[in-house]
């Protein structure tokens, strides 16, 4: 009986005769209309509620409103008779200016983040953002200016243009680099996942080599211009982006450089992660990374792949795997790396915060090599590096922090090892 009542109510015919959004000030009508127009199409109560709630989400994702409240009311015609339902969205707009400061700190590295953004500048969910990041001790500084704008009034499709300057030190390779970058990119969704197409133009300057850096690395010094087209496809069907227990994430990157500029190469990279809950809250994670670089002119050290360190192959120094020249990482044109993690929850704790901190045990393996012949390709498999260990894993926002005890199990003589405690922080971790 109850069930029947419920069905009857949800299936009840509804006529939406009015949708209004109150509280708009700077935001233009057309973009808001686009987000809420589906509500008008609702035919029964269930659809009305679902569509309204989706519209609330879409309005919120414009990043233009602090609050979105939903109200249903009766709609009367001129005679004063109830004619249909009126849906009212009461919104409060965000202020134009937003700023934030954040900092991450660790034993080896840390960074401070200062961001300043202008939201919804022209009333159509455009955003202008300036981010300044300082990493210390003396490792680098980044300033970026980015303008994003949704196109076709659809929030999932975004157009983005940016300018930025980065200068950082790369002590494992003994150089400093200044980068001035420009980018224009489009983002959209397809059945495969989230696509980003873009043109990237980087003016790079390599300089400030340490006194001991050998000539084979030094020869790449000076200015170069990389102008490239890049496509990134991210497919994500994990159940939780922060603490996944099921599903997989794949990131495919293709980059072709050589549209103007003096750098010509083609680069492909894959990063994939899989998660499986084997016992309640015991999560097994498997990840695989691989990359291939095909240079059409002699490749430069800042284009080649580097491997090793607390975010990739644990138990090695930063970029400590693969070809070296006199103790400085030289980088390679092909690499692969895989990691197997078992995440366990902290015992005797509860609450949202402690859920983010987990024990983990891991095994990582991989190799990096130059590609000069077929044998060097085979060496990629033959000379596999292996390391294992355990530690704590913590998820803070999009960043991951790890404190591990790691031991390299297999290595080559020229690799730089770092057995023992290792601290790592990063966005993507193997």
């Amino acid at each position: 009986m109850e069930e029947g009542n419920f069905m009857r109510i949800t299936n009840a015919k509804v006529k939406v005769c009015k949708v209004q959004v109150l509280g708009l000030n700077r935001t233009k009508n057309d973009i808001v209309t686009e987000q809420v127009k589906d509500v008008l199409k609702s035919e029964n109560l269930l659809e009305l509620v679902a569509n309204s709630l989706e519209s609330v989400d879409r309005l919120k994702s414009l990043n233009a409103f602090k609050e979105v409240n939903l109200e249903f009311g009766a709609c009367r015609n001129k005679m004063g008779k109830i004619d249909g339902t009126a849906v009212t969205f009461r919104v409060k707009e965000n202020g134009l200016i937003a700023s934030s400061i954040s900092a991450n700190a660790g034993t080896q590295s840390g960074d401070a983040n200062l961001s300043f953004s202008l939201r919804n500048i022209f009333g159509r969910a455009e955003q202008l953002k300036v981010v300044s990041t300082t990493a210390f001790p003396q490792w680098g500084q980044t300033i970026q200016l980015e303008l994003t704008k949704p196109y076709y009034k659809d929030i999932t499709r975004q157009f983005c243009a940016g300018l930025g300057t980065t200068n950082f030190k790369q002590p494992p390779c003994g150089y400093q680099e200044n980068i001035y970058e420009q980018k224009v990119q489009m983002q959209c969704f397809s059945r495969l996942g989230h696509h980003t197409f873009g043109w990237f133009c980087d003016w790079r300057e390599l300089f400030g080599f340490d006194n001991g850096v050998p000539m084979s690395i030094r020869k790449d010094a000076g200015h170069s211009l990389k102008s490239s087209l890049k496509h990134v496809l991210v497919t994500d069907n994990r159940d939780d982006p922060l603490l996944p227990s099921e599903g997989y994430l794949t990131k495919l990157t293709h980059e072709v450089a050589g549209l103007g500029g003096d750098i010509c190469f083609s680069k492909a990279e894959v990063q994939t992660q899989m998660f499986k809950e084997i016992f309640p809250e015991w999560v097994l994670g498997l990840s695989f990374w691989g990359g291939l670089l095909k240079p059409f002119s002699p490749s430069k050290i800042n284009d080649r792949f580097l491997l090793g360190g607390s975010t990739t192959l644990r138990g090695f120094e930063m970029w400590g795997v693969g070809p070296h020249r006199h103790g400085y990482s030289y980088g390679g044109e092909a690499y692969w790396a895989t990691g197997l993690h078992l995440f366990l929850p902290l015992p005797f704790t509860s609450g949202e915060f402690f859920r983010r901190i987990r024990f983990h045990g891991f095994l990582t393996a991989g190799n990096l090599n130059e590609l000069c012949s077929l044998s060097s390709f085979l060496n990629l498999l033959k000379e596999t590096r292996l390391s294992g260990g355990f530690g704590m894993h913590c998820r803070l926002g999009i960043a991951q922090i790890e404190l591990n005890y790691a031991i390299p199990l297999r290595a080559q003589s020229h690799d730089r090892l770092k057995p023992g405690l290792q601290f790592g922080i990063g966005l993507d971790m193997l």
Partner: protein, 313 residues
């Protein structure tokens, strides 16, 4: 002192000299200003000094027409740099090197470059960059010469300029921060130490660099060494101890000091010298302008927040 007679016969135009302030232990704490002052003392007779040349002691760079010290104004022309000032003084008849041969004059100009290459930067580092010396000694020099807001401004400006000079002159890749200012300082100090030893070798057992008569060579060397000898720096005192171990050079310094500045006590100053309490505060018009501007700003701010209106009610 051979040139006394020569100078007094000519008719000279009135000259003005802007030098960095000194204290009771040295006529100026800037080595180049000290060189010029010493040069004048040794060429001019005491009573002549005020008639021939007007000397302005100041530490405010905006009071010097070129913004640097020392600056000589003669016939409406500005001369900066020790070499060109001495050249101009020689033209005006104040010649200390009248007896020198061409070869000796060439040597003097070489040593002048040598001193400013090796010792000037090292002293800039010791006085204006090295943290302990900077806070304990250099600050004291200025606090007697000017008042609070200017002290801070001049100190930080000099500090910045000194850092820039040191960084650009060092051999490391300093424009890209691969070597720090301390590393540059260590390099400069070891070069300066070597230079002092070389000077001692050059002087040998002689009284002055050219035997028994004074030349501008002696004045140039004195300008640097006296500043090193007079102040015992609390931080890095590497050059001071090196100089102390070279008896001949120390005697040379004190001999010239007695000759040129009989009124100045020869004593080591350990920390910030106790300055004469005669505060120049009230005499300084710029101070009152500063106070006025600050007051106006304060009142304007008060009016903006409506404080004055409330008070008037």
């Amino acid at each position: 002192m051979a040139s006394f007679g020569v100078g007094s016969e000519e008719i000279r135009s009135k000259m003005t000299l802007y030098v960095f302030t000194g204290n009771e232990y040295s006529a100026s704490v800037d080595p180049e200003s000290l060189q010029i002052l010493t040069y004048l003392r040794l060429t001019l007779q005491k009573e002549e000094e005020n008639e021939e040349i007007e000397i302005k002691y100041t530490c405010k760079h905006w009071e010097s027409p070129t913004g640097v010290f020392p600056t000589l104004v003669s016939d409406g022309l500005y001369y900066t740099g020790v070499d060109s000032i001495i050249k101009e003084l020689k033209k005006q008849g104040l010649d200390l090197d009248a007896d020198c041969s061409d070869e000796e004059l060439a040597e003097i100009s070489a040593y002048s470059a040598f001193l400013s290459d090796r010792l000037k930067k090292a002293l800039l580092y010791l006085h204006w960059v090295e943290a302990k010396n900077y806070t304990e000694v250099t600050r004291g020099w200025l606090s007697g010469a000017t008042v609070f807001p200017f002290t801070l401004y001049i100190l930080s400006r000099q500090h910045r300029l000194a850092k820039q000079v040191i960084m650009t002159s060092s051999s490391g890749n300093t424009s890209n921060n691969t070597s720090t200012i301390e590393q540059c300082g260590i390099e400069l100090l070891s070069q300066a130490e070597e230079a002092i030893s070389l000077l001692a070798g050059r002087l040998g057992d002689q009284k002055y660099f050219y035997g028994s008569s004074l030349s501008s060579f002696d004045v140039l060397v004195f300008g640097y060494l006296d500043l090193i000898a007079q102040y015992e720096l609390p931080g890095n005192n590497q050059l001071g101890t090196r100089l102390k171990s070279l008896v001949q050079l120390t005697n040379f310094c004190s001999d010239i000091r007695e000759k040129a500045y009989p009124e100045i006590k020869s004593r080591h100053v350990s920390t910030s010298s106790s300055m004469s309490p005669s505060s120049p505060l009230r005499k300084d018009p710029t101070f009152w302008i500063f106070v006025g501007v600050a007051g106006i700003l304060l009142i304007a701010q008060g009016m903006r927040v409506g404080l004055t209106r409330k008070l008037l009610k």
